[in-house]
Symmetry: C2
Subunit: 368 residues, 2 copies
Amino acid sequence: MTGPRYTPLVASLPATVPFVGPETQERTRGRPFRARLGANESLFGPSPLALAAMTRAAREVWKYGDAQNHDLRAALAADLGVTPENIMVGEGIDGLLGYLVRMVVAPGDPVVTSAGAYPTFNYHVTGFGGVLHKVPYAGDHEDGQALLDKAAEVGAKLVYLANPDNPMGSWHGAEKIRAMIEAVPEGTLMILDEAYIEFAPEGTAPPIDADDPRVIRFRTFSKAHGLAGARVGYAIGAPPLIAAFDKVRNHFGMCRISQAGALASLQDKAWLAEVCAQVADARARIARIASDNALSALPSATNFVAVDCHADGEFARRVLRELAELDVFVRMPGVATLDRCIRVSAGPEDQLDVLEEELPKALAAARG
Amino acid sequence: MTGPRYTPLVASLPATVPFVGPETQERTRGRPFRARLGANESLFGPSPLALAAMTRAAREVWKYGDAQNHDLRAALAADLGVTPENIMVGEGIDGLLGYLVRMVVAPGDPVVTSAGAYPTFNYHVTGFGGVLHKVPYAGDHEDGQALLDKAAEVGAKLVYLANPDNPMGSWHGAEKIRAMIEAVPEGTLMILDEAYIEFAPEGTAPPIDADDPRVIRFRTFSKAHGLAGARVGYAIGAPPLIAAFDKVRNHFGMCRISQAGALASLQDKAWLAEVCAQVADARARIARIASDNALSALPSATNFVAVDCHADGEFARRVLRELAELDVFVRMPGVATLDRCIRVSAGPEDQLDVLEEELPKALAAARG
């Protein structure tokens, strides 16, 4: 009596997870966090319109969701000035990245990303047997030219860039991104992850060229829209690429309540503007807290701030551990030299009060 | 400027979808259905406890869901007399089937199922390059012995059986299923899909042997619990197999609102019993409507009834089309001789009133 015969690829995969969630940490610790500032969630919550729509939709949750995500795709297309055939909706950007990697990456295929960029993308690439080639950041920015050079060198099927960037919060202007798309090597698809785009200054997102087969853009309701737990992301791309998702996706995989929430949230532009204003205030306060403690906040176009602890990764990891001891959940970049920073999500005053109170203690403990 | 280079497997896949959803049909038709009796949803709705829990959870939807599904797995384990390490929660059985197939099936690997059984399983097997071997039903039942014989003959990695069965509503007793598990060929994993188990007579589900590596069982909140749109399914299996899902799944893929709804629904045993009683009444009424029209209802252990139209598949397809013209959404089996039937979901009186009113007209039109 033996177990199943896994594929050689799956048998070879490690049992690691891309992230340990805050609930998992709370169970390990045996007590809850007082400040939840580690997952770049929107502590300002969802739009009241989205809440009302989700409450209404719950009464019809006995129905499967619309497999075509028709209404949400139509609304997104109208907003973006493209057609619904340019839009694929899925179970968060994470889910869509998994589908895309499956569509393009066979075992041994080369893929390019930055060392220290989004771990869940790497998880999917490894999970389908792809070979990751990582280029370093240029300072605290992803290095567009190095990414393209490496993609050309290895014949990459995918090259990944987040703009604005996670975990550093840095960003490139639209012109630079536009030039990158123009220079993508033949046969390489560029993934432009714009999860944080709503927080970025005007002129960060290049215009959408809806039929450009060289790039696929990802956006989400998890960040500015405050719907992380609803799991709604979307891709914007050329129609043949968008249609190809239908070959592999879980067609009835979307939660009906989430579809309704995202659709309603899209109508509430005032809420979105208000959240972005609150995030800007929170970033400024995190920067003040940092400088009050002789640390430096990096400029951010996102809903989080990378705070430079002015020492090495070992020190920042100690700060992180001490903050957790003091019931403050934050995360940090995974590679040097980015890992001199801790990454703090924007939050309302009461959450940042906890940070302000506990950070000096954590720093003292980390130094002692 | 070309598009992405798809994997040879994905390039070869057809762009078909396993099911056309009722919303898609309504958009094509240009008007809504009056009776939604085709997707085996629970028209009796979710538990009021689940509704209240989902409304509460919506206010915290800015948080990602718990990636470990800890509370739901603990509650399911307690209910089933197993440990949480025996339970994997995922985005419906469809989502979990996709992960399992990916874990086990490499291109060219043999998989066994019944001709006419669940199309979404076949979609996943084809999607990962598996080779499907189909055995016929024995009458209106899946043929356990033929499935095992074929699995041994081709060296199948997976063999799929639904008990009770979809689309026929038939079932085998626990002893027969238990004997099948004992006879599963070495190196084959049996998938026991128990999506409809709550509707079946006592003695349909064999006892759960939580460490048996030869079988993985799937259950869902989409049917009796009335939460199809929430997308919550679960697998019960040996801990090493359950742990292997962590290598490939979308760890943060579960909707937080759905997690809360499923957990609350699990506590509402009275609601579940009430739904099952209403489903039994609805099955009896569908049988009466069938016999009033000189058709025969097959015995059912599910929340739907296969109605034998006493002619060939071409006739049943005409009945289906005519019912759709009359705004009644039902589905039917896809292969002969099962396709002499149409498949009608249980529903409350007002929905079955529509069926009772329209079925004679549809039959007359199909005969004319």
